[in-house]
């Protein structure tokens, strides 16, 4: 059959399927559907184009090994372009196809879907997105941050600064942040800790899109002269901040970035690894290629006679995609085991997710422990620093200033 004929057959098939209610439910026996929202073309495409292939590759790896407990996984990926209405459409589509869980993408999208997830009883994971209070499983029963929230990251950043300087008493810390809700969220934790630890905190807001921060950097380096800088930026802004700080001669060894300013691409865009010597980054998944799971993915591609995808070189985001997929699969595995091999429902998967514990994938995943009350899993991060042209782990999984975060969570829960 020629390609032309085939393509016309395809058109006919599409018309037919649309006429009969658009794509029959392909969730047959022994197949589970995962929904994945992604942003491959919107403002955060620099993350999505690397993270989502990581997710897809891990699922392909699981399928190539016979699936999870005998069930193959079908991933339905929908690009929401970081817009909210398409995110709702994507959720409804996942629901129609019988998805047992879904990966959310984007903070406003997570906010808009929280309620719908709860009504439809489908769990959604929002690693690095959404509000910190979603860690509270009682308030947001179907939303799972599964990675360190901005509050936990703030706690960890302060702990890291303290470790570097010995004490924080009387020190000056600058907080350089993207002027949106996500950027402002850690402020409560930072202010609490400033009081408790006795350091001085000053905040410097960078307006969207964060490409111009000369004034803020000049203010920090020229006037405020802090002992340490914590940055919380998105998109292209992190690389601008590295470049500007370097340009003003501020030692990058006194800087730590939150998780969305921590990719290789951010550092390379700022002029390369050589320029950013000493820049510290916070990570919620392992960095680099030295993990058995990544070796397995490479081997899978090799067995198909293909080279490993180029996305794998951007290990920070790629590995996060793998981490999300691995946790999804693990939740489903727990659910299937709990049902003795029967196909799990979305509610079983939720219970499976809440049973994840001691699943580290060779140091790739933090030692998180998800419970019905804690959907964040403890807020673990690692610190990786640029040393000699690559990211080097300087601090293994840790929970920074956990009591301060728990106090805020409790205060937030009592407010609502």
């Amino acid at each position: 059959m020629t390609r032309f004929v085939r393509s016309w057959l395809g058109v006919a098939a599409t018309t037919a399927t649309l006429a009969f209610g658009g794509g029959q439910a392909f969730a047959q026996a022994k197949e589970l559907v995962f929904g994945l929202q992604c942003d491959r073309t919107g403002p955060t495409a620099n993350v999505g184009t690397v993270l989502c292939p990581g997710y897809q590759d891990y699922i392909a790896l699981v399928n190539s090994k016979g699936g999870v407990e005998g069930y193959k996984i079908k991933v339905l990926e929908i690009d929401n372009e970081y817009k909210v209405p398409p995110a709702m459409e994507a959720h409804e589509r996942f629901k129609k196809e019988g998805a047992v869980l879904e990966g959310l993408y984007g903070t406003p999208q997570t906010a808009a879907l929280n309620k719908k997830l709860e009504e439809d009883k489908i769990l959604g994971t929002s690693p690095g997105f959404g509000t910190a209070s979603a860690a509270d499983g009682k308030r947001f029963p179907y939303t799972f941050p599964i990675a360190a929230s901005y509050w936990s990251q703030a706690g960890a950043a302060v702990e890291f600064a303290k470790e570097k300087m010995g004490t924080l008493k009387g020190k000056k810390i600058a907080y350089l942040f993207y002027d949106n809700p996500a950027g402002k969220e850690p402020l409560v934790i930072l202010e609490d800790l400033a009081k408790a630890e006795g350091f001085e905190l000053r905040t410097f807001a960078v307006p969207a899109p964060g490409l111009e921060m000369g004034a803020q950097i000049l203010d920090i380096t020229g006037r405020y002269k802090p002992d340490f800088i914590i940055t919380h930026l998105f998109g292209r802004a992190p690389s601008v901040s590295i470049k500007e700080l370097k340009g003003k001669g501020f030692p990058l060894s006194k800087v730590v970035a939150f998780v969305w300013g921590s990719a290789e691409s951010d550092i390379i865009a700022a002029g390369g690894m050589g320029v950013a010597e000493g820049y510290s980054t916070m990570q919620f998944a392992g960095v680099g290629k030295d993990f058995p799971v990544l070796k397995d993915i490479e081997a899978m591609y090799k067995a198909q006679g293909k080279p490993a995808p180029k996305e794998m070189d951007s290990t920070v985001y790629y590995n996060r995609g793998v981490l999300v997929a691995a946790l999804h699969v693990e939740a489903v595995r727990n659910a299937i085991k709990a049902k003795g091999g029967a196909a799990p429902t979305s509610e079983d998967v939720k219970k499976g997710m809440e049973a994840i514990k001691g699943f580290t994938l060779g140091g790739f995943v933090p030692p998180l422990e998800l419970t019905p009350a804690d959907h964040e899993g403890g807020g673990w991060v690692q610190i990786w620093t640029v040393k000699g042209g690559k990211l080097v782990k300087v601090k293994d999984w840790f929970q920074g200033n956990r009591p301060a975060i728990e106090k805020q969570l409790a205060a937030d829960a009592s407010k609502s």
Partner: protein, 355 residues
């Protein structure tokens, strides 16, 4: 709309201006009503209802923008911000005072109208691109204000969760319930606009658009009507924002950023400036096309691409086809889908005798 009208002659102005140009038009409307109220909710899967719901909300917003840009000729790229004004007004009223939607919804619209008049004030002195920039400033100021005033935004997250709307004790929380909720307001907006544009006010808007000096000379108070256009348009935007808020269960200003204003401008330009049907076509086109391209590609694309490649192909192709189609339609018919539809209709009106 879908009927032929041979041998009909209008002899009075009243007949010419009637909402139903022909008796048969009434039956068309009845048939459409039956389709949307009875057949679609019963026959269609919830997923398709959710798409229709998004279209209904978009129709309300697009109609509002079309009144301002299409009918009155005042360019605005602050439409998204007016939506957020409505959204936060309604959310604050619903959460702090526990008011039901039938109070918060008009209140959100009125607050947006008030802000719209303020942002629209420069229109009294400037036109065209200058006005576009002034409304852009309005958009950014409103965004900044919501982001930085906790009294409006309800805290650092700048989002306020609202309860589902309830009617007669029933909480409207499924797509099916919300379908009727949103359909009602979409129809209300359409009928209101149809009546507005054939009223004295609507004609004054058109006169201001076509030649404002001439309009002033024939006795139209152009200051009043320009601000009125901003007020009405912003009212629609505010209501649209409230509908989004109830639909998602949350007011969040990040849903209403500049890109949303641009999307709505795209809707009315594609659909047809200065036409009610055009706004509807535009809202449908912009909401539906990305979804249609994706569903089509999911079925057809798997013949050519692997699962892994597909995700990138669909995303890229969707943008490409979307942009390409906009250019194509605007070259074929610069006056938008509405004109295209009328051309097709007038072709078939005389078919098969084309002369």
């Amino acid at each position: 709309m879908f009927h032929r009208e041979a041998g009909v002659f209008k002899t009075t102005y009243g007949a010419d201006m009637a909402l139903y140009p022909l008796p048969i038009a009434k039956w068309t409307v009845v048939a459409l009503a039956a389709l949307f109220v009875v057949i679609i909710p019963l026959a269609v899967h919830e997923y398709y209802l959710s798409i229709l719901n998004l279209i209904f909300i978009a129709i309300v917003g697009a109609l509002g923008l079309n009144i301002l840009v299409g009918y009155t000729g005042q360019i605005s790229i602050g439409h998204g911000a007016f939506m957020s004004v409505g959204a936060y007004t309604a959310a604050n009223l619903a959460v702090r005072l526990g008011l039901p939607f039938w109070i918060t919804l008009p209140a959100g619209g009125l607050m947006a109208a008030l802000i719209g008049v303020i942002v629209g004030m420069p229109s009294l002195r400037i036109k065209g691109l200058y006005l576009a920039i002034a409304t852009l400033a309005g958009q950014l100021i409103i965004e900044w204000t919501i982001n930085h005033v906790p009294a409006i935004s309800g805290g650092a997250q700048a989002s306020i969760e609202v309860p589902r709307p309830s009617l007669f004790g029933i909480s409207l929380n499924t797509q099916g319930h919300l379908y009727f909720f949103l359909l009602f307001f979409a129809v209300l907006a359409i009928v209101a606009t149809l009546n507005l544009v054939r009223s004295r006010i609507g004609r004054a808007f058109v006169a201001v658009r076509d030649q404002d000096i001439a309009a002033e000379i024939i006795g139209i108070n152009i200051y009043r009507y320009k601000l009125l256009a901003f007020a009405i348009s912003s009212f629609y935007a505010g209501v649209c924002g409230v509908l989004y808020t109830y639909y998602f269960g949350i007011a969040n200003y990040e849903q209403f950023q500049l890109i949303v204003s641009i999307d709505y401008l795209a809707m009315i330009i594609i659909g047809g400036l200065g036409s009610v049907l055009g706004s509807i076509f535009g809202a449908i086109f912009v909401t539906l096309l990305p979804i249609a391209i994706r569903i089509f590609m999911e079925d057809v694309g798997s013949l050519f691409f692997t699962q892994g490649e597909m995700a990138n192909v669909i995303s890229g192709l969707r943008l490409g086809v979307f942009g390409g189609l906009i250019i194509f339609f605007l070259i074929v018919e610069p006056e938008g889908l509405n004109r295209l539809w009328r051309n097709i209709r007038s072709y078939f009106r005389v078919w098969p005798f084309s002369y």
